[in-house]
Point group: C2
Chain length 277, copies 2
């Protein structure tokens, strides 16, 4: 069995930075909290929990100490609460995610109705929404009714979405009608390269494994794109989740992984596959 | 035979204004020139020629006197030449067309690459192109290769195009990729209403006549939209062009007309149809 790992996959700069910041603080401090899971990967969250990182979902759950803002960012409202509690804030928000928040706020200041294309329930989108007074989140065509008629729309996109999805939603918005559109391309170029790399690999393999947390938006997007090209695509969190009955008859196997999937999960998966051969 | 004239058709505000300005000047002056045909309608140009309006295509052809800038506008370069010649300039540029020129110049000043969606050979588009240092005209998908990669694009549209065409071209541009899009909706609302009114009428008639000059972009657009709904659509300049063999068996006849088609051409056509019955 030939095992090919996508040229570009696994931790992105933003995630690497957040993990490294967490490890540095954990090495010298005791009370370290992450506001929401540091990344959408259970295994990595568990690994850091063993080193002392406490994951909480609300500011109210943090009594004192240091709070780490994960790469998805936090809404200004949450940041204000953290400051009020006089906690030591370590901000690991991805620079690209922070840029979306800033752009959205600027668009609103310039009089545009802010439109965020993406998943309303994703923390990154939540933080962008929190950066503005009023926003409209468009996840798909069923949300188009939320748009005002003939208005000035300032549009940004969740960083980990695909260019195909972004332009499809822009088309739908343009067709609905507007007086002015200001659209800033806020897609993460690294995420796009991973998507392209995964789709390319997909075409050459008998089966494709997309490794990553079930709550990871970018892993879902990778799996979705791969499935369009190769129906034998499986989104798994790790080696344990693999149904070994899939393997017989498969000569070439592809592996890719989301931006929040640690290197050790990818390596373990690839090594176990090779060993089974 | 039932003859129905579209509720909204014929001269638009911009054209009405240009004709009325021409008539006022012709009433008191002798040397009156129009830089390019005042409107894209041969019959109306001839009517005004009889009153003394001389149509020229180049500034160099005007020795002295008054020059009328038609509703399509003129490029700043031409305006400068006219001023240099110390001609008396009467500007009948449609306010919406002038707005497109101003917006395009502003977009360029703000660092955007200016993109004009429309027909490169139409004088309105020519005047917009002339208002900027550099522009890219996109008429259809075959022009997309002209767009720079990952750039900041400032987009306007020829005023008389349809919203369907505008959004279709925006989709194509969005799919091509960009770093920022600033799109100003420069479509003429009156033109859109005429298009809607024509399409509605089309559905109720056995045959549809779209009256207007063969060089009139908005008349072409009307005919194109009507043809999609009713194959029995004919673009004619006037009553003389009608092939009378079309009429037998037609019970309900629809008439619409471009923004540069004078009322008397529409009335003549409708009256002759009714008289034939």
């Amino acid at each position: 069995m030939k095992v090919i790992v996508a040229q570009q996959c696994g931790f992105c700069h933003g995630v690497k930075n957040a993990i490294s910041m967490a490890e540095k603080i954990l090495a010298k401090e005791k009370d370290v909290y992450s506001l929401g899971p540091i990344i959408h990967n259970k295994d990595e969250v568990q690994r850091l929990a063993k080193k002392g990182l406490k994951t909480v979902n609300r500011v109210e759950e943090i009594p004192s100490g240091t709070v780490l803002i994960r790469s998805h960012g936090a809404a200004p409202e949450q940041m204000a609460k953290l400051k009020e509690k006089k906690l030591n804030i370590v901000d690991a928000t991805c620079v690209l995610v922070k840029r979306v928040q800033q752009i959205a706020a600027e668009l609103e200041r310039d009089g545009y109705k802010v439109v965020v294309i993406g998943d309303e329930n994703h923390p990154e989108v939540g933080a962008v929404v929190g950066s503005c007074g009023e926003t409209i989140v468009i996840a798909d065509e069923s949300d188009l009714h939320k748009l005002p008629e003939n208005d000035r729309l300032g549009i940004v996109c969740q960083t980990t979405q695909s260019p195909q999805y972004f332009s499809k939603m822009l088309c739908a918005i343009a067709k609905k009608g507007f007086s002015e559109l200001k659209v800033i391309n806020t897609l993460c170029k690294e995420a796009i390269k991973r998507q392209q790399s995964a789709v390319e690999l997909c075409k050459q393999v008998d089966v494709m494994f997309v490794l990553g947390g079930l709550e990871s938006a970018n892993t879902h997007k990778l799996a979705e794109l791969c499935k369009k090209v190769n129906k034998q695509t499986f989104h798994l969190q790790n080696w344990n989740e693999l149904d070994k009955n899939i393997l017989p008859g498969k000569n070439v196997v592809g592996i890719t992984a989301g931006a929040s999937t640690p290197e050790w999960i990818i390596a373990e998966f690839a090594e176990n596959l090779t060993a089974k051969d």
